[in-house]
Symmetry: C2
Subunit: 389 residues, 2 copies
């Protein structure tokens, strides 16, 4: 039987040897991110957060201070990765370029998952750290020297949920100057893992619209971003029903949100100037609410629809059984999926094959090399927004 | 020497006995928060976050799931508190009513500090979990059935820092309807631990203003909330200089922010209709920028000034040496401190005694029973806002 004392000594030796070899490796390594100006702080860091840092070669360096820890891992898509400790108790790792866009991550400190205090937090089931990885040649979602619209925090009381709720309303750059101008509206929904902050914070929908409008690639429009979760006072909070026919979400959107927006903003309040789009769970809501209320919406965007059953015959009050009427009513029936979200991509193609057979018109966009993440949805909004209104 | 095996067995016995006694204690306890409707989820929880829960007696129950952990503590003002584990690996504790208002907290899991994934996060050095504790008889900062203003996320490029920055601009409820009306502006700054999100998220400045305006207790006004940290490209990020004469923050506020606000919002753009207030570090900035630019501001609010040296003779271009001129120029010189932030309260009283000796007019508000926290600053804004414009 090995005593604790002996174990500790043995462990100390292993650590010392590891540190020595790490120091040696660093001495050999061309890039020392502690002093090298080529390593830049990620745009998602807090004001004082030094790490993660991104190298000119796209590699990413992470650090976490935990002098007492015996094991620290980096949890990120592609990982987990074992981190190594220096003599000051700082754990580090450099990894190859992760997926472009927003990557959620955490540290696992002796088995306990911890978010990075150096990071701005984004909502993904809970508030979590994330690092923005630049995508070479792709900057349509970055803030630029163009006129900026405003994102307005708008509080309202929902007659359906009987609670105060907040929505985020983007108004385009000229909204404050063209006081007699009225605008079309895109209702934009998040997925099951996000909340009402997602499309602005993670999706950068405001910067995408600013840039498109500045280049005359999209009509100046209002975006309205709501939580996709809504429950009546007597209803259990049960994720999984928000996209069913007659859900409280559907009632809230149609009875509370749209009238409130049309009353408080200079909208063009008809179906020809009203679009709805959503990602993942939000795409199911878009299909359900949009297809059963074609008197309200003329443009629909289905981003990364989950691979749940789809029955064109029976769903959506049967509107898919009359392709001519549908094609006539819908100005745009837009579908998108990333190449790396395989089951979603496959299911989408299966549905669109069925549309081909039925003669239902649609537009399909495939996001190259991206999965079920914000990069896919930023690109989806970028393409969808250019085609509406 | 004790073997690991024996230690483990001994530890297992201790855990078993502890669990047994905890179960027994719960069986005796009148309040079972798992089923009792008297326990309500805190308003700061995420949509699905069940805990913390607050009892009718003001006690607060916390839970954290960590089946493999050997020790979990709750870290909160008044703590740390040892939590106890149930047979499903869920750690719990019920504590007596913490301080009213927003309380930051964390769990320490086998020595590792972890935020609560059930909580909305607020910025306090880093993004952290916090629980809103109701304050009996005090609801001036709660959302009510009154007209609501909008908080607008406004992006601009700073000529001083040469970076894009965001500010949050509250416009009062009638701003969108009274299109020829112009409004006074309060520039409101956070402290060294907060960022530009603090006054809205933690301070609830928007709800405070909505409620005051609805009761005709305050003039409808615009609030402008900026980050108090600003650095030129060649300047190190050195907290501790932002309130010195001629800081980059001062330049940014005067050269970038105020002109941008006056250009983009319907302001009354003169000193009589422009106020500045700040908490902690922001109070030092208010004194420095305000007192040396009385051509720009006629109303100043000094909330919880840190107990750093104060030299009335030499500071602020000597304006405190001419009390008559100062009293004549300043419409309001407002100071506030909590009774529980002792050194700050003492220093404030010392400064105000000096003002008495000099004949400098001021208003002093003491927040009963509160420390260097949002409850003190919410109350400060509530009182200050009623006296300006």
């Amino acid at each position: 039987m090995i005593s604790i004392e002996r174990l500790r000594k043995l462990f100390g030796l292993v650590i010392a040897l590891t540190l020595l070899s790490v120091c040696f490796a660093f001495a050999q390594a061309p890039a020392n991110w502690q002093s090298n100006a080529d390593w830049k702080r990620a745009s998602t860091n807090t004001r004082t957060g030094e790490f993660p840092k991104i190298g000119t070669d796209g590699k990413v360096a992470f650090q976490y201070r935990a002098p007492d820890a015996e094991n620290v891992q980096l949890q990120i898509s592609g990982g987990p990765y074992e981190m190594t400790k220096d003599e000051e108790g700082i754990w580090s790792i450099v990894i190859d370029t992760p997926a472009p866009g927003l990557n959620f991550y955490a540290f696992v400190v002796d088995g306990v998952s911890v978010s990075d205090p150096s990071s701005t937090f984004f909502f993904n089931g809970s508030w979590r750290s994330a690092v923005e990885i630049p995508s070479p040649g792709e900057d349509f979602y970055e803030i630029r020297h163009v006129p900026h619209g405003q994102v307005r925090e708008f509080w309202f009381f929902s007659t359906v949920t009987q609670t105060f709720r907040v929505m985020y309303v983007y108004v385009p750059p000229d909204y404050e100057n063209e006081l007699s101008k009225r605008y079309p509206v895109l209702y934009l929904q998040h997925g099951g893992g996000e909340n009402e902050t997602g499309w602005i914070q993670g999706g950068r929908a405001n910067f995408i619209m600013d840039n498109l409008i500045a280049e005359n690639k999209a009509e100046p429009m209002i975006l309205v971003v709501n939580s996709g979760f809504a429950f009546r006072p007597d209803e259990a909070m049960d994720p999984g029903i928000e996209f069913l026919p007659g859900s409280s979400f559907e009632h809230m959107l149609l009875e509370d949100v749209i009238p409130t927006i049309d009353r408080n903003f200079r909208t063009l309040a008809d179906r020809e100037h009203r679009a709805m789009a959503g990602l993942s769970m939000g795409s199911l809501q878009t299909l359900q609410v949009g297809l059963t209320h074609l008197d309200q919406f003329a443009w629909l965007g289905v981003f990364s629809r989950p691979p749940t059953p789809f029955d064109a015959e029976s769903q959506f009050n049967g509107v898919l059984n009359d392709p001519d009427a549908l094609n006539d009513r819908l100005e745009l029936f837009w579908w998108g999926a990333g190449t790396v979200e395989a089951s979603i991509n496959d299911k989408t193609r299966e549905i669109l094959q069925d549309f081909d057979d039925r003669g239902i018109g649609y537009t399909f966009f495939e996001s190259p090399g991206t999965a079920h993440d914000w990069q896919t949805w930023r690109r989806s909004l970028f393409h969808f927004a250019q085609l509406i209104f």
